[in-house]
């Protein structure tokens, strides 16, 4: 029996010109033009990392807020399990990178770019406030950023609230630093356990978390992601290119694919400079705005000793720095992804009260992120792979805050 060979052509699928297509070509050109405006490699790399970050979030609809919220609202853990998988990917990569930077962890040092901060009450307070805020606002910081890229106006309002909250955190930072942060211990697991022990413990904890989520949602069969029925069309080069294009740029990705890609991206970001985080730069934006109104924050104690998304509020740095490129890249990457999938639309909230809700949630979220030195990304998704105890404490606090947040949103129709 012989296998019938399909005709092999090298021509690409027929493309019809339309307004939608013009918009798609336009955003790609715009992305390239903006890239050329950055005058350093560091800016360009950060812009690329940020764009990829936003693109992944938009395509996979990966949302940290819903991962925590749906555990209580629907007893649904699909998002959370995907995120745990992404954390596991990043953990392996981070451990290799940190081992290069600090070959002998028993000496007491820890890698200065890893997201390791003191473990104390302030993390719990910040995590709970952030958890409530992200559920009420309908998205965490990175989630709101990618929804701004999709055209959601209320998410922009949530970000503005976040900026106000970050500035409020900066104004109360010195109190918290004296009261709790300066006296809390830094617990970096490899210091006492070595890299092997720290990896083993993190792996066991991630597995326990995964099983815990599965136990929590059991009794409810897992939600099925939509899959297209297998197509019967011939597998020509044209059809393959078209199908790959649609899979990547038009159809939503499985959430697990998005989370694992984000874990990999985090390793790339750390390889280049530091793990992913978005709120440190937002805090700088907030303080620049506050200074214009003569409401700038005072000199903050000890922030230079903290890694990650600290409230460095580095006013001396040019606003056009690499973190600016990263943060704006997230929004722009999501915008590009949304336009390519024909999912971009300026969307107004159906009720004015949604804006109030987004603003209030955003303020809580911003304050929590400012206090806890990061958001769901910097203080959780990048912190657990950094092998610090702080990531776990912040994560559990987010869970507690989300529980309270769900009680609140169930009362706001």
């Amino acid at each position: 029996m012989s296998v019938q060979a399909l005709p092999r052509t090298t021509s690409l699928p027929a493309i019809r010109f339309s307004r939608g297509l013009a918009a798609k070509i336009g955003v790609i050109l715009l992305a390239i033009i903006l890239l050329t405006l950055f005058n350093s490699v560091e800016m360009g790399v950060s812009w690329g990392l940020g764009m990829t970050f936003g693109f992944i979030l938009q395509r996979s609809r990966l949302c940290f807020a819903s991962a925590f919220r749906d555990m209580f609202l629907m007893r649904e853990g699909r998002n959370m399990k995907a995120i745990l998988a992404g954390i596991a990917v990043a953990t392996a990569g981070f451990a290799l990178l940190m081992q290069k930077a600090v070959p002998d962890p028993a000496a007491g040092a820890f890698p200065d770019q890893a997201h390791v901060v003191p473990t104390g009450l302030y993390l719990v307070v910040g995590g709970v406030l952030f958890g409530i805020g992200m559920v009420v606002a309908g998205g965490c910081v990175s989630g709101s950023m990618y929804r701004v890229g999709e055209g959601y106006v209320a998410s922009g309002v949530a970000l503005l609230g976040g900026l106000a909250g970050l500035e409020a955190a900066a104004h109360t930072w010195n109190f918290w630093f004296r009261f709790n942060i300066s006296t809390s211990p830094i617990v970096w697991l490899p210091n006492s356990l070595g890299y092997g022990g720290a990896l083993l413990l993190t792996g066991v904890l991630l597995l326990a978390a995964y099983l815990g989520v599965t136990w929590w949602e059991s009794g409810r069969p897992p939600m099925i992601a939509f899959k297209k029925k297998a197509e019967d069309e011939p597998v020509t080069f044209q059809a393959n290119v078209a199908r790959s294009y649609r899979r990547i740029f038009v159809k939503g990705w499985p959430m697990l694919a998005g989370a694992v890609a984000l874990g990999g991206l985090n390793v790339l970001a750390f390889t280049y400079e530091h793990p992913l985080g978005v709120t440190g730069e937002l805090a700088t934006w907030a303080d620049r705005g506050a200074k214009l109104m003569s409401l700038g924050a005072p000199k903050l104690l000890g922030v230079d000793r903290l890694a990650g998304c600290n409230l460095a509020l580095d006013a001396s740095a040019s606003w056009l720095n690499h973190n600016f490129a990263l943060d704006s890249g997230v929004i722009f990457g999501a915008f590009v992804a949304a336009v390519l999938a024909s999912e971009f639309k300026i969307r107004l909230a159906p009720h004015p009260r949604r804006y109030v809700q987004s603003l209030g949630g955003g303020v809580l979220m911003g304050y929590g992120a400012g206090l806890a030195v990061g958001c769901t990304v910097g203080a959780f998704f990048s912190a657990i792979p950094s092998l610090g105890l702080n990531g776990w404490v912040f994560g559990l606090s987010l869970l507690a805050g989300s529980f309270a947040g769900v009680k609140i949103i169930q009362r706001i129709a």
Partner: protein
Amino acid sequence: MLDVRGEICPYPMMKAVEALKKLQPDQDTLEVLTDHAPALTTIPWEAAKMGFEADIDKVGSPEWRITLHRSTAPRDPQAVMARLQEKLTGVEA
């Protein structure tokens, strides 16, 4: 027709569930209009638990109409989602 355009998670799902609960015994279908892609998974899933089957049509860019109708089949959300998958072949979900 329940219009939840502009709403983001979890409100499209919560409002659809609320509307399904208020549906009179002689009403068999509820149409939900949404522009929020994640709702295409959450609404049919929650509706299935209440005994409804779902159909999804893409009616705009991006806008979808989810039609939920009472089903006499046993309440098996996984089976409902599997049937929806089969029907979704032409839908950009």
